[in-house]
């Protein structure tokens, strides 16, 4: 069973790489959703600790949220914003994938340095850290507001997997509160994207640069 869980972990990492090279916005959204779903069912496969009913229920909530609700919200935001359908990265795709690989090497090193509890599933810690890094990569090197939300979700996925790796059992109420927060975050960001596209006619965050102490914008006239 653990080999299977390991395969899933590899799958998660490959999805990180895929996110780094994918040019299509809708593919990105689907990849993030898929990653969330895979991460969501991971505890069922690893099968440790938690009572099974609770774990199954929780996995169901996550799969619904990340697999259905979020992609729907984001796809809607994408359609409504009338944005171009590609992600328009600031750096080339090979550079993205190299950064992603570098992040993975760094996270393997970090994972081996941290005195974490022994995990039965190999690479789960590096994979989670690499996912977090990929999320940061998406946020910093893509120009669109939607990809930043996607980056946030990828970070969230990574942290979720990290939590699995550390066996930190949070009470049900806290887990649900966290999920609720993430849901509201995506919801509010979706609304914000809609407003951005209405005000600026696009969702390119590079244009969100009027407020700055460096550039002579509105106040430097």
């Amino acid at each position: 069973m653990h080999t299977f869980a390991e395969l899933i972990i590899v799958f998660v990492i490959l999805m990180d790489l895929a996110l780094a090279v994918t040019g299509s916005l809708s593919t990105c959204i689907k990849l993030v959703a898929l990653q969330g779903v895979v991460a969501g069912v991971l505890p069922l496969l690893a099968g440790h600790g938690a009572p099974y009913v609770r774990a199954a229920l929780f996995a169901a909530v996550i799969v619904t949220l990340k697999g259905a609700v979020f992609p729907w919200l984001l796809m809607r935001a994408r359609d409504k914003s009338g944005a171009r359908k590609d992600v328009e990265p600031l750096i080339s795709y090979p550079a993205s994938i190299m950064l992603c690989l570098g992040a993975f090497i760094a996270s393997s090193w970090m994972g081996s340095r941290l005195p974490l509890p022994e995990t039965e599933v190999a690479w789960i810690v590096p994979a989670s850290l690499a996912t977090v890094f990929t999320g940061f990569l998406l946020i910093t090197t893509r120009t669109k507001a939607i990809t930043q939300v996607l980056g946030y979700l990828v970070i969230e996925n990574g942290i979720y997997i990290f939590g699995l790796a550390l066996f930190v059992e949070q009470p049900m109420m806290v887990e649900l509160a966290i999920l609720l927060d993430v849901f509201v975050a995506v919801f509010v960001m979706g609304i914000a994207i809609f407003h951005i596209s209405r005000e600026f006619d696009h969702i390119d965050t590079a244009e969100l640069s009027e407020l700055s102490d460096w550039r002579r914008g509105e106040y430097g006239k």
């Binding site: 946030y152 930190v168 059992e169 509160a177 966290i178 927060d181 407020l211 106040y219």
Partner: protein, 507 residues
């Protein structure tokens, strides 16, 4: 009573979304704020009287103790109580200001900073509702006894305050909202990672994430993991608190939000994030890592002051200037918490006084904006001719915020400095003083040039009638700060001392 304090604004917030009439909704906001502060006052009194009030209410059994076996999700320790007291009193002032502000905004959109752009303000229902829910979330932050719950509440404050920043619905407020949402959400996601590390640190001891259990078992926690946990939580909550270099969202959000929201963000929200850091700092201190965490707090605190000082010098926007001043004070507070000992008391006093003063200043800045219709410092001259009482408050606020005696901030800054010197951190003390001097110089330039000088009337300028409803809360807060500088009431000093003990400080 805690449940009531959280449920009251929650229910009121939900209700506010449904009420269509402006008048009843504003009354709801006002009375919720008043009731909330009354409840807070009761809780504080209860603490001061050693549980007498609660004993009276619940018939003998002190209700704050959780049922045996189950750890309480929410309860107030002195530290939480202290911060909810700040938040609640601030919200009381803000609600009074907001009611007048909303009424004025309804009559004619006050701010025309965008040239031809006519504001299409957010519906008042959303604004009021989010304001009340924001209060509920902040109450939850201060009362949380579980690190996971604390995290969820802090994230909730981010999400609920985002619509508040976007009140004016124009490009720049949208930009500020987006930056705020994204930077804070990502930052707080890192704090979640910190929570996981914290959980992992206590995995062998079964400490979980419950604060009380963590504090008891602190010595048994895995030290390296605890350090990692602190770092992540520090970066996460530090982002929200506005410590440099994670502060980038703060000036934007504070300058673009309506004055009342800026006041709440600066006075209440930053403190809530600071509380998150204090909580984990207390756990680390109990585990014997006080030197490590203190060093980090001092380092980033000093860097924040430096950043604020540098950006203060060329500042062109007076609301941004106030935002940088907030960064400075968060830096001071962080240094105080990091030094430990008596400085913790200074940090708490600083947090309190800064909240009140800064809220008052933001309230005043709102009035200036209404009078001059610009946020540019260079365009505001001779305020004392056009709006004398506003100018008086503006100048008074300046003296208070820079820590001129008898301001309470002076006392706070001085306590922190004294502790730094007595711990023989001479370099730190010197840098601290130098940066504060730069800040003072930078702020003097702004405030003096805005207040005095000749006022050149703009072509279509009408005489400005100063709204008393907007100025009164500011005046009240300033009065409180002066009072605190001269005399700290016994019950408050007691509360602060107990709070300081909560996080490892001594006096």
């Amino acid at each position: 009573m805690i449940m009531l304090m959280m449920l009251l604004p929650l229910a009121a917030g939900a209700l506010a979304f449904m009420i269509t009439g402006d008048r009843p909704r504003r009354a709801l906001l006002l009375w919720t704020a008043r009731l909330h502060s009354l409840l807070t006052a009761l809780a504080v009194w209860d603490h001061a009287a050693g549980g007498a009030v609660s004993g009276f209410i619940s018939g003998g059994a002190p209700f704050r103790t959780a049922p045996p076996g189950a750890a309480a999700w929410f309860s107030f320790d002195p530290l939480g109580l202290f911060f909810i007291a700040i938040t609640s009193s601030l919200f009381l002032g803000a609600s009074h200001y907001a009611v007048s502000y909303l009424a004025a905004e309804k009559l004619g959109p006050g701010e025309k900073a965008d040239g031809a752009f006519v504001f299409n303000n957010e519906p008042e229902t959303v604004f009021t509702g989010c304001l009340l829910l924001f209060l509920a979330a902040m109450t939850a932050v201060t009362a949380s006894r579980h690190m996971g719950m604390l995290w969820a509440s802090v994230e909730a404050t981010t999400l609920l305050s985002a619509p508040l920043i976007y009140f004016h619905r124009h490009k720049r407020s949208l930009e500020a909202t987006w930056k705020y949402l994204l930077i804070c959400s990502v930052g707080i996601a890192l704090a979640l990672m910190g929570n996981l590390f914290l959980g992992a640190a206590g995995l062998k001891t079964g400490a979980g994430l419950d604060l009380d259990t963590l504090l008891i078992k602190a010595a048994l926690l895995n030290k390296p993991l605890l350090k990692a946990a602190f770092l992540f939580l520090f970066v996460g909550y530090g982002t929200k608190m506005g410590l440099s270099p994670f502060h980038t969202w703060l000036p934007d959000a504070h300058s673009e939000a309506p004055a009342v929201v800026s006041a709440l963000l600066s006075g209440a929200l930053l403190n809530c994030a600071f509380l998150g850091i204090l909580r984990v700092n207390a756990v680390c201190a109990a585990a014997g890592l006080a030197d490590f965490t203190g060093g980090i707090l001092v380092l980033f605190g000093l860097f924040s002051i430096l950043t604020a000082a540098l950006f203060m010098l060329g500042q062109r926007d007076y609301k941004r200037m106030l935002a940088y001043s907030s960064i400075e004070h968060m830096g001071i507070v962080a240094i105080g918490a990091g030094l430990g000992g008596a400085a913790v008391f200074g940090a708490l006093l600083g947090a309190l006084c800064h909240s009140l003063t800064k809220a008052g200043l933001f309230f005043t800045s709102g009035v200036i904006l209404a009078a001059e219709k610009t946020k540019r410092i260079a365009d505001v001259r001779g305020l004392w001719r056009r709006a004398p009482s506003t100018a008086a408050l503006w100048l008074g606020g300046f003296f208070l915020i820079t820590g001129t005696p008898p301001s309470g901030i002076f006392l706070a800054k001085f306590i922190v400095l004294r502790e730094a010197v007595s711990l023989k951190h001479y370099g730190l003390a010197a840098a601290y003083l130098a940066f504060l001097a730069i800040l003072f110089a930078g702020m003097t330039r702004v405030f003096i040039s805005m207040t005095f000088g000749e006022h050149t009337p703009k072509p279509d300028e009408k005489p400005f009638e100063e709204p008393a409803g907007l100025l009164a809360p500011a005046a009240f807060f300033f009065g409180c700060v002066i009072l605190l500088g001269l005399y700290i009431p016994g019950w408050l000093a007691e509360l602060m001392r107990a709070a300081a003990q909560n996080i490892g400080g001594k006096l």
